[in-house]
Structures are given as C-alpha cells and as structure tokens.
Amino acid sequence: MEALLASAIGLFTAVGIYLMLRLRTFPVILGLTFLSYAVNLFIFVSGRLAVNAAPIVGTTDTPADPLPQALVLTAIVISFGMTAVIMIMAIGGHLLAGHDRIDLDPRGDS
C-alpha cells in the first residue's frame, strides 16, 4: 500500500508541475489543484498508514495518528479557498484583457 500511495502522490505532483508550467491560466489552476491534492495525501500519510484504526485511543491496539487528519483538514480548507480566489481572479483577468495568457507585458504596468 505504501508503494501505491507514494506513486500516486508522485504522479499527482508530476501532473501538477507539468500543468503549472503552461501559459494559460486554466491549466495553471488545474496544476495547482493537482499539487494541492498531492500535498494533502502527503500530509495524511505523514502520520503513517493504519488500516481499520480509528484515531481514538482505546478503540484499537494501534490507533491512527489524529494530528495529520486535523492538519490535512486545515490544508484542504485553505487550498479550496485559495483555488476559489485565483479562479475569480482568472475570470476577472480574462474579462478585462480578452485573453487568458498568464505572462505579463513588461510595458503594461499600471
């Protein structure tokens, strides 16, 4: 199971980085989302994998570590909010500029 999870995280990261390097906002946002999936899984695994174990002491012999679950919840909420923000910004930028290229014209400073 460790190998499966590790390769899934690696794949998500690779896809995320590839998409992030594109020139349009939509693939970049998708890439960032993939990267945040990868990191969420990674945080979850940092408490070690445990099968059929509740994060409550006393229910099983080897309870799961509850802290990474709390951390990953925080990380999910934050990355969800941030994705929403960049989405709105991308739509706004597209409407204002008429295209969705992510690079800036150096002479176009406001």
Partner: protein
C-alpha cells in the same frame, strides 16, 4: 502580561470584522476605526517590546493546552521587535492611504489592511510551525485583496501571477511540514529544537530535505534569487501604498528564515552542518546584484522601487547567511532599516506618479512640487544605496564588519552593487528632476496627510540613525538570545505536559 500576547492577532481580526459587518460603506467611520485600532496596536506592541526586554521570552498557550499538543504563541525580543515594526509601518501606511485617498478607489481597503496585520502579527508571534503556515495564508489572502485594490487589467493579471506563485509556495510549505512531522512527530518549534539532535542518523537526509523546502518557501516570501520573479511585477503593479505596506511581507520571509535557522535547524545540529549558510550566501549575493542591475535598467519609478526592495533583501540575507550573533545583529538592524526605506521609496514613487503625467523614466515631463518631491526621492535613494548620513550606511557598515574575515570576496560583492544602485538612482533622479522644463501645468494635489506620512517614515529612518548606539546594543542582546534559544525553549514548558 500573558493575555496581551495574543492581542496583536485578535485586535486586527475584530477590527476587520467590525468594519466589514457594521461599517460597510461608511468610509469615514472605517477610517476612524482603522486608525484608532492601529494606534492601540502600537501601544500594545510597545508594551510587548518592553515586556520581552525586561522579562524575557514568554509563551501564550491557546486554550491552555500544554505546549507540544496545543498551539503556542511565543513572545521574545525578536517577535516583539517585528510586531512593533509592523504596527509602526501600518500606522504610516494607513495615514498615507487616507491622505492620498487610495482607500476610496475600491471597497474594503481598511478591513483587508487589518486582516493583513492579523496574519503578519500572528506569523511573527507563533511558536508552532503549522500555525506559521496558517498565518502565512491569512496574510497572503489579505494581500491578494490589497494587491488588486483599485482594479485594472495590468493589476489583475499581475495579481494572478502573484497568487499562483504563492500557491506553489504554500504547497511546498506543506510538503516540508509534513516531512518534518513524519520524521519527528511534532510541529512545535521549541519541541522540534529539542528532538532534532537525538534523531537517528538515518533520518538526516529527510531532515535536510525538509529544511531546504522550508527555506525555499521563505525564499519565495523574501524574494531571494532564483525565486524573486514575482516581486517586480507584483510590487510595481500594486497600489503604491500597498507596495509600501508589503515592505514588511518580504521581512516575514527573512524573519521565518532567521527563526528556523537559529531555533529548529541551528548550525551546530549534526544533520544540518553548514547547509543553510551554503545555500543562503550565494543566493543573497546574486539577489543583491540582480536588484542593483534592475535599478539600473528599470524603465518606471515603481520598478526601481521594486528592484530596490530586492537588493535590500539580498543585503539582509547576506548578513543572515553567516549565522553568528554579530552578523545576525547586523541583519536585524538592516531589516529595520530596509523595511522603512523600502516603504519610503514606494510612497515617494506613488507621490511622484500623481504629480507627473508620464510614468516612464524617459524624456522630460514636469513634476509638480518638484522641490519637495526631489528632497523625498533623494533621501530615499540615499537610504537605499547606503550612503551616509542615513541608516542604510550604518547597516551596510555593520554587515561589512561582520564579514571582515571574507573581506576580499564579500566586500566587493556588496560595494559594487551599491555603486550600481547609486548610479541607477542618480539616473532616475536626474531624468525626473534635473531637466530644464516648463513648470507643471496641472496643480499639485493637496494632500498634507500623505506628505506627513512620507516625512514620518523619513523621520523614523533618521531616528534609527541617531539612536543607532542603543538600538544596536539592544539588537546584540536579541541576536545572542536567538543563537542561544534555551530561554525560548524553556518558555514553552515542554516538560509540564502530563
């Protein structure tokens, strides 16, 4: 004193919520509430600074949970100093925003300002690595709103880049933290400092990877080469007053680097060795050079200011790269100076851009109130290039003194870029002010409060220069405490947990 430690986080949070919920649309009331809350924050910061100086480090346990399990805020000399710097800069930028009417050009300037204060203040105070991430996100999301304040195509598109860059940074931060937690099982910084020396040698590689990831995140915040690309576009496109406020945000990166490099991954940790200085030193030198060349080549005044910010971060990181008490003390002095000086150049750029028809630095165009503007511009340029009599000179002198042993390599690497900066500023100044042109036709905007705010920054720089003796003595003690964090760790009362 203990409950006051959380006041720099709670007060802006309540003020911002009050302004969004109760004072929506009442700009005059929002201005009063904003300035009043920032004045209160200044008073609290002064009291905290006094307390940290007299009583030493003190921890605040949220919900009274014992240290490694709950979140702690830790007040020590460094965090108190940074909070005081933040509140001073906040007061000046709030007054400037009111005086220059920047806060009228879009909704929610003051609430976003207070959310930013909450995030930055929390990042300075927290003693928990994951909580540091959360406060980073708080300050970032407020900064996204502030950065596009006033709207416009160029600003919005620069904002997308800024957000994307920081989202990558946040992901890296989380990877680093998860790695650290996976290896040690804790994220409390004092607890990490205690546990890392006794880790099995087999975990050293993971530890080094985690350290470098965290360093990369702080390098993004601190605009260290090769992660500085976001800064010129962001700062040059942000409203001038917001860019001035962002002068403290690059310092958040410097603060976090300093905290992590002295407390969690100190140089005497066997797994780390000289890893952090080896990375920081060349990066800092290249940052300084890129900043200087950028100033020389920039085509608009806001871009000059942005590259000056990069150069000053390079100088600050250069001092931090040594990780000795003397160099750290010099770095702290330079961080104080660089925050004020960078904010000043952004305010000056904003003032000039509203008195000159053309933003680019080519061709003659008259500047209204050119006498007053030239005084402010040259004072800011002198401070940033590091000429006497302002504190930039003293700051660079302290840093050069700390690198006395590497005189042949480091000194030219600092002094030649300083000369380039001087050249770039002289070029900009002579284009702006030294051309025989007709006096400006457009009347100068009447904004006494904005000018007062800019001169207040200049006065703060002058005070930093005049009080250099007592300030450096205080910073020496702060740097000593940073490099011997026993008192900081003891304040967390780690053994008290059941």
């Amino acid at each position: 004193m203990s409950h006051w430690i959380i006041a720099p986080v709670v007060l802006p949070a309540f003020t911002a919520a009050l302004m969004v919920l109760a004072l929506r649309g009442h700009l005059a009331l929002q201005r009063i509430a904003s300035v009043a809350a920032i004045l209160a924050l200044n008073a609290i910061a002064a009291a905290l600074l006094w307390s940290a100086t007299v009583h030493g480090p003190e921890a605040y346990f949220l919900g009274d949970w014992p240290a490694p399990f709950g979140i702690v805020l830790v007040l020590d000399r460094l965090s108190a100093l940074m909070v005081a710097l933040l509140s001073l800069l906040a007061l000046i930028t709030a007054l400037y925003a009111i005086g220059s009417r920047w806060d009228e050009r879009g909704a929610h300037f003051h609430p976003l300002l207070h959310f930013l204060l909450m995030g930055v203040g929390g990042a300075f105070l927290t003693g928990d690595a994951f909580n540091l991430f959360v406060f980073f996100e708080v300050l970032l999301i407020a900064s996204y709103g502030l950065m596009i304040h006033g709207g416009g195509e160029a600003r919005t598109r620069a904002g997308i880049q800024y957000i994307a860059f920081n989202l990558v940074g946040s992901s890296l931060f989380l990877f680093g933290l998860a790695l650290l937690y996976g290896v040690t099982g804790t994220l409390n910084m004092a607890d990490l400092a205690q546990k890392l020396p006794s880790l099995p040698p087999g975990d050293a590689a993971l530890l080094r990877v985690a350290a470098v990831m965290l360093l990369l995140v702080f390098a993004i915040k601190g605009a260290l080469v090769p992660l500085q690309f976001w800064l010129p576009g962001t700062y040059a496109n942000a409203p001038g007053v917001v860019a001035a406020l962002f002068a403290i945000m690059t310092k958040v990166g410097a603060y976090a680097t300093l905290r992590i490099a002295t407390l969690v991954f100190p140089p005497d940790l066997a797994a780390m060795g000289t890893l952090i200085p080896t990375i920081l030193l060349p990066a800092a030198l290249v940052t300084l050079v890129i900043g200087a060349i950028g100033i020389l080549g920039a085509t608009t005044l806001p871009r000059i200011a942005a590259f000056a910010a990069i150069a000053s971060m390079g100088t600050a990181f250069l001092a931090m790269a040594q990780l000795t008490p003397q160099a750290t003390s010099a770095a702290l002095y330079y961080i104080l100076h660089s925050t004020l000086a960078t904010a000043l150049i952004f305010l000056v750029a904003d003032l000039i851009s509203r008195r000159r028809a053309d933003l680019s630095l080519t061709g003659p165009a008259p500047v209204a109130q050119s006498g007053l503007m030239s005084v402010l511009f040259f004072a800011a340029a002198i401070a940033l290039a590091g000429l006497p009599p302002l504190s930039g000179f003293l700051g660079k002198l302290l840093i050069l003194d700390a690198w006395r042993d590497e005189m042949r390599t480091i000194w030219p690497a600092v002094l030649i870029p300083s000369f380039l900066m001087l050249l770039g500023f002289s070029r900009a100044g002579s284009v702006l002010f030294w051309k025989p042109v007709q006096p400006a036709k457009a009347p100068a905007p009447h904004e006494p409060l904005a000018l007062t705010a800019a001169f207040a920054l200049l006065a703060a720089l002058a005070a930093l220069t005049l009080l250099a003796g007592p300030v450096t003595a205080w910073l020496d003690a702060t740097a000593q405490a940073l490099h011997d964090p026993a008192a900081y760790i003891a304040a967390n009362r780690l053994g008290a947990a059941p």
